[in-house]
Amino acid sequence: MERRHSDVTQLLAKWRSGDASAESELMNVVYPVLKQIASKSMSANDKAVLSATDLVHASYERLVDQRGVVFANREHFFAISARVIRRVLVDHVRERNAEKRGGSWTRVSLSQSDTESPSESRDVLALDGAIAELELVQPRAAQVIEMRYFSGMTLDEVSVVLGRSLATIKRDWRFAMAFLNDHLSDMGPI
């Protein structure tokens, strides 16, 4: 019942060519590793500074090092990790908000979470919402934002993943930031 490690490299390749089912399978593989590394580093030192970049790096080592590193795939791993981390964090925040409501269970809708969560997590939800909307408008720009914020990639690395020139990616980033800024400031104070 264990997933074979050789799959990951294949999955990455499939995902890179746009295979949607490979994405969900990758999620299932990457998530446990991320989670374990994350909890390990926190339990070691409560005040540890945990960055997304470090997290992703460590997971990459763990997963792929046995097979030997295929250079091009490394960036793509970062890209998929960004997506995983994004989902994981959003789920986490929503779960938290549900709990804060007390014992009785209510299905939390996105808009409810937005108004009642503490400001940091609120920002993550707002960010998620903004990216989701941006995906409909300029999908590539949305990917750039996702990769920057959720796995700490540089624009250079992003351009490798997306196969576009750095100038193009910079332009995407510029628009995405304006869009994001506009979207986030729309929310206003709680």
């Binding site: 019942m1 264990e2 499939k14 060519s17 746009g18 295979d19 949607a20 089912s21 969900s24 299932n28 998530y31 446990p32 989670k35 374990q36 994350a38 909890s39 580093s41 926190m42 339990s43 409560d46 945990l50 960055s51 997304a52 981390i85 994981v88 964090l89 959003v90 789920d91 986490h92 925040v93 929503r94 779960e95 938290r96 549900a98 709990e99 007390g102 014992g103 009785s104 269970w105 940091e120 997590s121 920002d123 993550v124 960010l127 409909l136 408008v137 300029q138 720009a141 914020y149 959720f150 510029r174 628009f175 930031m177 304006a178 869009f179 994001l180 800024n181 506009d182 986030l184 400031s185």
Partner: protein, 991 residues
């Protein structure tokens, strides 16, 4: 599907890139210019530039900080259990994996002296106590599954994790499954080089396990190769049985839009979020078998984006296995065949025929067209292995006959069962309501509650929601009310029906009629409940188009409620319903009386400014407008809109409906530009408040399409109508009246664009379905019928067209908006001209023109078309002077109104004008008109060959007269030219 709003944002993105490097002044001036035409776009751009100017660095670091903080929070939440933790009787050995639904650990316990290994599944989210209780009762059912092909549920329960994190609820449920060591079925088959026969055998064993579980009402929902392991003895074992459903009950499925199912094996109904059934597992098994046999999956989902993949999975029909295999490269074929211990040619011929058919049946998009049970699937596989004929291939007629009989059997047994379901659910609710009574003591609230339940079982929208709710109702029944066998039989029967396309008579006969009887009997002594249920039933009938059946029920509800002094709200509701029903049956006077009474009651109750009067105001406005009393209607519309906005704001459903209605009202008055503006605004709000697939959004899409068409931009209109059609098909089914109405409208637009064969297909479909369901006299049926008649006229099949049109005009006109009858008469008049029946045409055209002048005024689009038609007649009658007196005054209106896709009318206008001028000796004017007519005609999408010929003939006629009257002009020369051209044109084949 992208909405107008998304498209606008995309354009904003492009412009942003272009302008961002300009100076602020340049940007400002460009924005100002843009704001003239497209204020929405300019506004968005402005905001984006403002955002761009703000301190981006600050935003950047704020976002980074919050992501980091959340990450830390997440990491601190130590959910993972340490090795050695006790979960119930099991000791955790290690974490195996984490899926979308939770974590999986390997665990172990000692039992009967040996070690038992289990896979412990921990769902992610905290479960509610009520769900936990339910989960406990379900586990008995799951644990009882004992079959060689199924990995057993060993234990289930809840435990308290040792390291309590910040969460409040400590108890967590777990499921312990038999831990199976083995290889996934596809890897196993390849490693063992299993032949086709051996693979079939494996899947048969799998199906036997499925059948066993289905008989116990447990559906797997996630059958795929990874979930079927083959152990050392060669026995396939299905993992995770019942998990999907149980976790759903615990409320642990992931947030909306993040369902973790396997796209490749998900059945269409699963993707749509509808309930699963045995047929869903059959589908997934079909996918598995397909790949096991021919080496590739049925649908090629690789390289597709997520939305495209979803779309393909829902609608794409897979190719036959043999064909899909045959289309692979020789290398791929060789590898695959090798793993199946045969040659590519052998493999291909094995797949062709019976195996192709079996797979195709298992993979049908509609659940009821697949194998109804896993056993049936297995039977056909056995037949193939034994070289017997398979069931799936019996000839069509026999199959249809069987289905017919089955359907009737279904209908009769359904009605008995459904009556039971309804009665018992009402009984159950009464028991619950008794509990309620202790806290809320009014009898009315009880009645409310019960009628709500009924409304859930018979919702206003037919379609897949019906299915969902009925299945839920059956699930909710206590064990002793309905026996397990009855329940199972009901579910099986129900799942074989496609609720979306149910024939109306089946719904009526099986569900509504028994409910009616049940109500009459049960609630003889309880007028309140009687009224509530009658009201709900009336609504149900009305929503599926059976107004006649709805009427007595609605009247009953009103009667009862009138006599009761309490709760006037209900009386108002029922009065509104009754008014609407009467109006749709053409009984306008009665309807008006009722609606005015309604309005009075609500004013008395709530005061003129009260919220409760909004609905009755809207109802009156709508009623008046639908009966052509537009001036009277206007104040009601305005008032309703004003109050809706005041009370509820812009994003409320009621306000949006009001806006939509007002928009259509403006359209009725011919104020198309204002209507377009209003409807676009409404649509924008609806898209963001309700979403693109809400029925109200779809209605506005439809209306907007119609208005834009009127404005002459039919291509653009078509996109809206198409969106509405697609959405309605999904939401309401392809046979719903509204869907068909949209189809009829689309036919009309296509005809206008000259896309005649598409128009004909759409019109025929709409017409035949609507004739069957609501009859030929209904206005909705008249639209596609008229399109067909127009198409016939275009094809010169005049007598056929005449038959249709005469039939239409002979139908009763009550309940039909006058607009429609006039259009039909106009079309008939045009036809009569072509068959030279001028007297009758004269009568018709005069009648239509006068009515339109009265109703719509002189400036209206329709009135002007009538004038042109009459002039056309006059020209044919040789009354050229009269024709000119009709045509000359309307020139500027004509040029203004008939642009874009309405060039057809301008072209006719110019032709008749030219001919008349020529006949009256105004040669220069005639030449001008006809030359322009040539050019316009070339641009007209609807232009026919015979129109082209007519124009050439007119030219020839003009120059012939001219040259006779003035031999010195160059008219003779031109005459020869045009005679040549005419000859050429006449020889050409018509388009």
């Amino acid at each position: 599907m992208s909405s107008p709003r998304i498209e606008m944002l995309q354009r904003a993105a492009l412009l942003f890139d272009e302008w961002v490097e300009e100076t602020a002044q340049v940007r400002a001036s460009r924005l100002a210019a843009l704001a003239q035409d497209e204020p929405g776009l300019a506004d968005t751009l402005q905001r984006l530039f403002a955002a761009h100017e703000r301190a981006l660095e600050q935003t950047n670091s704020e976002v980074m900080a919050s992501v980091g903080a959340t990450l830390r929070d997440f990491a601190k939440d130590t959910d993972t259990l340490a090795d050695g933790t006790m979960v119930g009787p099991f000791k955790v050995t290690r974490l195996i994996g984490v899926g979308g639904m939770g974590q999986v650990y390997l665990g172990v316990r000692e039992i009967d002296g040996r070690e038992q290994q289990v896979a412990i599944k921990l769902p992610n989210r905290r479960a509610a106590p009520a769900a936990l209780a339910r989960f406990r009762s379900e586990r008995a059912m799951l644990a009882s599954l004992s079959h060689p092909a199924i990995a057993r549920l060993v234990d289930a329960g809840s435990f308290i994790p040792p390291n309590l994190s910040a969460s409040s609820s400590a108890e967590r449920p777990y499921l312990a499954m038999e831990y199976v060591e083995g290889t996934s079925i596809d890897a196993y088959a390849d490693a063992q080089l299993l032949s086709i026969d051996a693979r079939l055998s494996l899947v048969s064993q799998l199906l036997s396990g499925l059948q066993y579980a289905h008989e116990r009402l447990i559906v797997h929902r996630d059958i795929k190769a990874e979930n079927v392991l083959v152990d050392a003895s060669g026995q396939p074992r299905i993992l995770d049985f019942g998990i999907g459903k149980t976790l759903d009950d615990l409320g642990t499925s992931t947030a909306e839009g993040q369902r973790y199912f396997s796209l490749a094996s998900a059945a269409p109904e699963q993707i749509r979020g509808e309930p699963s059934s045995a047929a869903t597992d059959v589908y997934a098994c079909g996918v598995l078998l397909y790949e096991l046999l021919c080496g590739v999956g049925p649908l090629d989902l690789a390289e597709l984006s997520v939305p495209a993949a979803l779309d393909l999975a829902m609608h794409g029909v897979p190719a036959l296995a043999s064909q899909r295999f045959g289309a692979l490269s020789p290398d791929a074929q060789a590898t695959i065949a090798q793993a199946r211990h045969c040659s590519p040619a052998q493999l291909r011929s094995l797949l062709e025929g019976d195996i192709d058919t079996i797979l195709a049946r298992a993979l049908r998009k509609e659940p009821e067209q697949r194998y109804a049970t896993a056993q049936a699937f297995a039977d056909d596989i056995a037949a193939v292995r034994e070289s017997r004929p398979i069931d799936a291939r019996r000839n069509d007629r026999a199959y249809r006959m069987r289905r017919f009989i089955k359907r009737h059997r279904i209908a009769t047994s359904l009605s008995a069962l459904t009556a039971i379901v309804l009665l018992t659910s009402v009984v159950v609710l009464r028991l619950q309501a008794d509990n309620l009574r202790q806290t809320r003591d009014t009898a009315e609230q009880v009645a409310d509650f019960q009628s709500d339940m009924l409304r859930k079982v018979i919702p206003r929208e037919s379609g897949h929601r019906l299915s969902k709710d009925v299945l839920a109702a059956i699930e909710a029944l206590p064990m002793d009310a309905v026996s397990a066998e009855q329940r199972q039989a009901f579910k099986q029967l129900w799942n074989q029906l496609n609720a979306t396309d149910l024939a109306i008579s089946v719904v009526d006969g099986s569900i509504l009629a028994p409910a009616k009887t049940a109500i009459a009997e049960q609630f003889k002594e309880q007028p309140l409940v009687d009224a509530a249920l009658s009201h709900a039933l009336a609504g149900a009938y009305e929503s599926i188009g059976l107004s006649k059946a709805a009427l007595p029920l609605a009247q009953r509800a009103v009667e009862i409620r009138r006599s009761l002094s309490s709760n006037k709200d209900h009386l108002i509701d029922s009065l509104t319903d009754l008014g609407i029903i009467l109006n749709s049956m053409g009984r306008e006077e009665e309807a008006e009386k009722i609606l005015r009474e309604n309005h009075d009651v609500s004013i008395k109750l709530y005061g003129a400014e009260g919220v409760g009067t909004i609905n009755s105001t809207m109802a009156l406005g709508f009623f008046l407008s639908s009966n052509g009393r537009l001036d009277e209607a206007e104040p009601y519309y305005k008032e309703a809109l004003r109050r809706n906005r005041l009370e509820y704001g812009d994003r409320n459903v009621s306000t949006l409906t009001s806006m939509n209605n007002y928009g259509m009202f403006l359209a009725n008055r011919g104020q198309f530009d204002a209507a377009e503006k209003m409807l676009r605004e409404t649509l924008d709000l609806q898209l963001s408040a309700l979403g693109p697939e809400h029925r109200d959004t779809l209605t506005t899409l439809n209306n907007l399409g119609i208005v834009i068409h009127r404005l002459g931009r039919t291509e653009e209109a078509l996109t809206f109508i198409r969106s509405s059609l697609v959405g309605r098909r999904r939401l309401l089914g392809s046979k719903h009246q509204r869907t068909l109405r949209t189809l009829g409208t689309m036919a009309m637009l296509l005809h206008n664009l000259g896309r005649r064969s598409e128009a004909e297909t759409a019109a025929r479909e709409a017409m035949s379905e609507l004739t069957d369901s609501i009859g030929p006299e209904h206005p909705d049926t008249q639209v596609p019928t008229r399109v067909l008649a127009a198409l016939l006229i275009d094809q010169n099949k005049l007598s056929d067209a005449e038959v249709i049109l005469r039939k239409l005009t002979s139908l009763p006109t009550s309940g039909v908006p006058e607009n429609e009858t006039l259009l039909t008469k106009s079309l008939l008049g045009g036809l009569l001209i072509r068959i030279e029946n001028y007297d009758e045409a004269d009568r018709l055209f005069q009648e239509v023109l006068n009515r339109r002048r009265d109703l719509l005024g002189d400036a209206h689009f329709d009135t002007n078309t009538s004038v042109i038609n009459l002039a056309w007649l006059r020209v044919n009658q040789g009354l050229h002077r009269e024709a000119l007196s009709l045509l000359t005054p309307i020139e500027s209106s004509v040029r203004n109104l008939f642009r874009g896709s309405h060039l057809h009318f301008l072209s006719t206008y110019l032709l008749q004008l030219g001919i008349a001028q020529a006949a009256e000796g105004n040669f220069a004017a005639a030449e001008a008109a006809l030359t322009e007519c040539m050019e316009v005609g070339a641009r007209n999408a609807r232009d026919l060959h015979r129109d082209l010929v007519e124009r050439h003939e007119a030219m020839v006629d003009l120059y012939s007269r001219w040259s006779k009257s003035d031999p010195t002009s160059n008219a003779t020369q031109k005459l020869q030219e045009w005679q040549q051209r005419l000859a050429t044109v006449q020889e050409e084949k018509p388009r």
